[in-house]
Symmetry: C2
Subunit: 439 residues, 2 copies
């Protein structure tokens, strides 16, 4: 460790020449521009031509350097930590109140700039310091519910999140709730919360970050500002996901919780509305509605909480060569339902028919979605689809496979009667079917 952790190439060369190390206050002079701040480590392999500094307002920025760029060490009587503490929070009166609930993920973490370690941090002060814009948008309250990589969240955690949110809405006077969440399974949780609440009075906004906040390319600040703006001011009371609309750090898009899917491993615009328009976009300080079909915000509504999920539901992606005994296994294990990700318009191979019949005869609810992701299941077009329908398989139109799984887990959390679950699956509860008005 030479005190310039993570730097390489030109940036390392220039920093070494200036004899500075991470944590130092430095000044970067480039083509007449001057940048001043604390030199930050690079956590991941990045562009070797960028130097990252933390500005006095708490922001990190990446400065692209050239061979002509000069670096100076700035003497400061304050330690870096103290200089950050100077930041003053000014809370305005009469702002809406937004509650930020932390569940984990990059968005709710802070990078210790000396070690590069990432730890959960969601105090109001930390947030105001990291993203000063928040203090002029809303009065923020925060709570860390848990701090879990989202791939480790289970339906039990969805219940806990739902109960916490209902409690917050019931007990605190809030104008909206933001849920900071890891992006890996944020789509699943968004669907879960969409079904867990009825009569929502205010918006619930899930937000994540595809790049950690120590990176110059981080999307955390804009996403968080967008989520808080939505929670505070959006005209709707639905569960949505707020993320970048495009790779540029310019606009946010609000996806309906039942129609959203993570469609890229790393891009900032990884989340996409599938088979649906997003609900709204945010450009600068404006929330632009993209549809008039939404549930209106109404603080007088009394939230109805239905937080139970039953994990005895399986998602099976069909593929050539799939062993149909896997279907029998779920029946033997007393599962209650199966959602298939079939091919095309909603098909599986004929070699699965016997096992599907056994499953249906044993009382399991079997439903069909498409692994194409886009488009709609239409099981009346070909023999395969018609035969599956006659076996009792339920066609779920354009519902996302992931949403269908979550919905069936939720349905079996409400009732164990297969006929009722079928009815629930075919009813548009939270916009999960496009082109049909939700109840």
């Amino acid at each position: 460790m030479n005190g310039l952790q993570g730097y390489k190439g030109l940036a390392l060369e220039i920093l070494s020449k200036a004899n500075v190390k991470i944590g130092d206050n430095i000044r970067i002079l480039r083509d007449g521009d001057v940048f001043e701040g604390i030199l930050m480590p690079r956590i991941e392999l990045g562009d070797p031509n960028h130097i990252v500094i933390k500005l006095s307002n708490g922001y990190n920025i990446g400065v692209k350097v050239t061979a002509q760029t000069k670096i100076e060490k700035v003497e400061s009587k304050l330690t870096p930590k103290e200089s950050m503490i100077e930041f003053k929070v000014e809370e305005k009166e009469n702002l809406p109140t937004v509650f930020i609930l932390g569940t984990g993920g990059t968005i709710a973490s802070k990078v210790e700039y000396r070690t590069g370690a990432v730890y959960p941090s969601l105090s109001t002060e930390d947030l105001y310091r990291a993203v000063p814009e928040l203090s002029s948008l809303a009065k923020i309250k925060t709570k860390v519910l848990f701090s879990i990589f989202s791939e480790n969240l289970t339906p039990k955690h969805w219940s806990e999140i739902a109960k916490s949110i209902a409690k917050i809405i019931d007990e605190e006077k809030v104008d909206g709730v933001v849920v900071a969440h890891g992006t890996d399974t944020m789509g699943y949780t968004a669907a879960a919360l969409s079904f867990a609440f009825q009569n929502l009075p205010v918006p619930i906004v899930l937000v994540g970050s595809q790049r950690s906040s120590d990176r110059p390319s981080s999307d955390a600040a804009l996403n968080l500002i967008g989520a808080v703006r939505t929670a505070a001011y959006a005209p709707f009371a639905e569960v949505v996901v707020a993320m970048h609309e495009w790779v540029a750090d310019e606009s946010i898009v609000l996806h309906r919780g039942t129609k959203v899917r993570k469609c890229h491993t790393s891009r900032r615009d990884a989340f996409q509305s599938v088979n649906a328009q997003p609900l709204a976009r945010i450009v600068e300080d404006k929330i632009i509605m993209l549809t008039d079909e939404y549930r209106r915000r109404n603080n007088k509504e009394k939230i109805i909480l239905k937080p139970d999920f039953n994990e005895k539901v399986a998602l099976i992606k069909f593929y050539p060569g799939l062993n149909p005994e896997i279907i029998d296994w779920f029946v033997e294990k007393k599962f209650l339902g199966i959602v298939f990700e079939g091919t095309g318009l909603g098909h599986v191979g004929r070699n699965c028919f016997d096992s599907i019949k056994k499953a249906v005869d044993s009382g399991l609810v079997v439903a069909m979605t498409s692994q194409c992701i886009w488009g709609s299941v239409r099981m009346t077009v070909y023999d395969t689809g018609r035969d599956l329908l006659s076996l009792g398989v339920i066609p779920l139109e354009d519902m996302l496979p992931e949403t269908a799984l979550v919905k069936m887990m939720w349905a079996f959390g409400q009732t164990l009667t297969p006929e009722k679950v079928k009815q629930i699956m075919l009813t548009n509860l939270a916009g999960e079917f496009s082109g049909r008005i939700p109840l």
Copy 2:
């Protein structure tokens, strides 16, 4: 049945008024335009403002009608069937030879215009009649290998297709092979053929149709012309999928067999290259290469056939609440390998770790892809990924989950030694990893 099967709305009204029925020769007069042909039935629910006629050249067209459109019955001494037989095939000399192998699907079927029934049809005469352009492009030979909805194809069928193609290339003097295939699992078969051949001398082009050829919106003709043109003239010798580039009936795009996926249930441009540029586009009669990295066509090459696949490989899509015992079940059932569709950068919940460890300890090859579909697995960024790597899970970068499954089935068809399979999985054999030159 009133003799106007499938028609409704304005079209039905106008046709009824003219007292014509399906199978009649009719003349449509619309705004000075005149269309003449045999009135065809509408098989599926379509736009109520279109009338479909079969022109004397064998083509079907849809004519949009207005309230002012007039219909006349045309007396004809020929029965509709005879009038179609008039079509003459003119085979040109010195054209390249293309072999079309039928496996099933909409593209290889013909609609009986009186009954609406769909039956397999792939005689050269039928093809020339349906798509007259083909006769000026290539000398066509055809064979129906089987006629199966593609959701019923299994790895055993992939082997049969591969063996048939190798035989055709060995025994017939062909400049390329077209495989007519149902679209449901065409992506899987394209990947399978990509691995089954080495030293390909000529292109192998899979082609399908999203709309049956009796529909005015059918994509069958343009796709087939594009596929034959590719087989006859493309400069590369790779396995590709030829389908519509966009919804308009204008251009064809050629996707590399290992990078293509059906991403919409019904759109004509359902097939997309994922994490890769397509190899080429076809606009009018031009094949426009989009990359210079491809295997060159070379008739002197001697094809190497490796047609074996082992079905003891499973694809598991991870989701919150997944019961890890399913992993144990595959181990008990003596499966050889598992491909995970993990979340985000390549994660599964920590509750699966014990079962994954057991699987690896039992000698299974366990590999990781992402259910995001787009982007690349990167398992060194977070603890979950690093822990999975240390359990022995193989990261498959940007390989499609479906391609990874097919490739592992193929790898275990070549060797039963896990270490060799791992090595195969990490080697770029047919462009399955982007940004790496295939061997």
